[in-house]
């Protein structure tokens, strides 16, 4: 399908913004990346996403689509190029959507809870919860991948994108706290998967470098301490 005007409102540090970018890369869709300035919201963003006022927003033609995973499904349904992102079987789709919801509602908030935890005990508990979540996801990986490299099989799929976008922040959290979250002994499959995902063609150029992300995280933390 000929690419009409495709714009993506986003920011390089955001894992949610990575999701539609990976999807668009898989489909080889040319798009204009409109980087929002951190700390302010452009008029276009406020007009395109009046409900949440958040990135990412895909603007296709004149139509805005909001919420990262909804954008991924939209991209998959509109463009036939590349490979399909959602599984083709309805049950597999339901499983993928279930785990993506779990990742967003329970697992990633657990990572943020680590940095907000007050004191050693609380931090330890928060770390344990994230690792317990990864153990669940390890099991999901084994079931979904059916022996292949990704949740989606031979190629990156919806659930790979849903989880993989958080690898940058996961690594930053590990470095800042000096502990391992993705542990080769506890979650060997996910450990291997993380490398493969990060070096995939659709991902490698947009996965933020850990050092750059760490600098950004430090700026964020300093700002929140000051306010």
């Amino acid at each position: 399908m000929a690419s009409e005007d495709v714009k993506l409102l986003g920011g390089w540090p955001s894992p949610y913004v990575m999701r539609p970018r990976i999807a668009l890369n898989i489909k080889s869709v040319n798009y204009e990346f409109l980087e929002e300035k951190f700390g302010s919201k452009s008029d276009l963003l406020l007009k395109s996403n009046p409900v949440y006022k958040k990135i990412p927003v895909l603007i296709h033609g004149e139509k805005p689509i909001c919420e990262s995973l909804i954008i991924v499904e939209y991209v998959d349904e509109v463009w036939n190029s590349g490979h399909t992102i959602l599984p083709s079987d309805p049950y597999d789709r339901a499983v993928a959507r279930f785990w993506a919801t779990y990742i967003d509602d329970k697992w990633f908030p657990g990572i943020r809870a680590i940095s907000r935890a007050d004191g050693e005990e609380a931090k330890k508990k928060a770390v344990e919860e994230v690792i317990a979540g990864l153990v669940l996801l390890e099991d999901a990986f084994i079931k979904c991948s059916k022996g292949k490299s990704f949740f989606g099989g031979d190629k990156i799929g919806y659930l790979d994108i849903a989880l993989g976008c958080f690898l940058g922040w996961l690594r930053v959290t590990e470095k800042l706290g000096n502990f391992a979250l993705l542990d080769e002994s506890k979650t060997p499959n996910l450990f291997k998967w993380a490398e493969k995902f990060s070096s995939d063609d659709a991902v490698k150029d947009i996965m933020p470098q850990t050092d750059k992300l760490m600098e950004f995280a430090k700026v964020l933390m300093a700002k929140s301490k000051a306010s």
Partner: protein, 232 residues
């Protein structure tokens, strides 16, 4: 022969959504009633992560989370009315509103009825803002789905019935026909449509159920133990 079971609860709007969807599609199913305070081993086996209803079990395979189940039903039983439109942009809009209703709408509206003081005021404001957005999307259509009931109507079920009961118990008037005329019309259409009308839990029984839950929550609030939540 496909075997379809639904683990649910008569009082839960989430469970009710799935019953409506299955009935709209003409799918026969066995309803297994769960007591959310005493969950069955089978429920815990089928939903080990969240341990919640509803769970749809189709030929032995469990599907959890009501929004995920609704899409599964639409994709699996293609005969019968579609719950989602065919156009990708319209599908994205349906998913957006469904997610908004569940992530922001229902929690804000429940909070507005359960909390007191500043927390309540904030939740009331949030609910009103969301209702304004929803009012805006109806523009001349009978249902959120257009001429026929679709996924957004089904997900919005709690607004038309459960929230009306909750706000009455809390003495609030957040969602009224005067303030939101289009939503008022939608509620009438929705509640009077065939499948919905025949399958709502009895109002007095539901009111009694939530009155007891609200009183328990108020007691907990008074003991400064924080509010309750709606068990799914």
């Amino acid at each position: 022969m496909a075997e379809v079971k639904l683990y649910g609860s008569w009082s839960s709007p989430f469970s009710h959504r799935i019953e409506v969807a299955l009935k709209l599609k003409g799918v026969e199913y066995e309803f297994i009633s769960e007591d959310v305070h005493n969950k069955s081993p089978l429920l815990l086996k089928y939903n080990p992560v969240h341990k919640k209803i509803p769970v749809l079990v189709h030929n032995g395979k469990p599907i959890c989370e009501s929004l995920v189940i609704l899409e599964y039903i639409d994709e699996t039983w293609e005969e019968g009315p579609s719950l989602l439109p065919k156009d990708p942009y319209e599908r994205a809009m349906v998913r957006f509103w469904a997610k908004l209703l569940d992530e922001k709408g229902l929690p804000a509206m429940l909070k507005a009825c359960l909390r007191i003081g500043e927390e309540q005021e904030k939740a009331k404001e949030e609910s009103t803002e969301l209702l304004k957005f929803l009012e805006g999307t109806l523009s001349g259509n009978k249902f959120f789905g257009g001429d026929t009931i679709g996924m957004v109507d089904i997900v919005a079920n709690f607004m038309s019935y459960w929230f009306i009961i909750w706000q009455e118990l809390a003495g609030l008037q957040v969602l009224t026909k005067e303030k939101f005329p289009k939503l008022g019309e939608w509620m009438d259409e929705y509640l009077n449509s065939d499948i919905i009308k025949e399958n709502l839990p009895p109002k007095d029984k539901l009111t009694e159920y939530f009155q007891a839950r609200f009183e328990a929550t108020a007691a907990a609030n008074a003991a400064a133990a924080g509010g309750g939540g709606l068990p799914k």
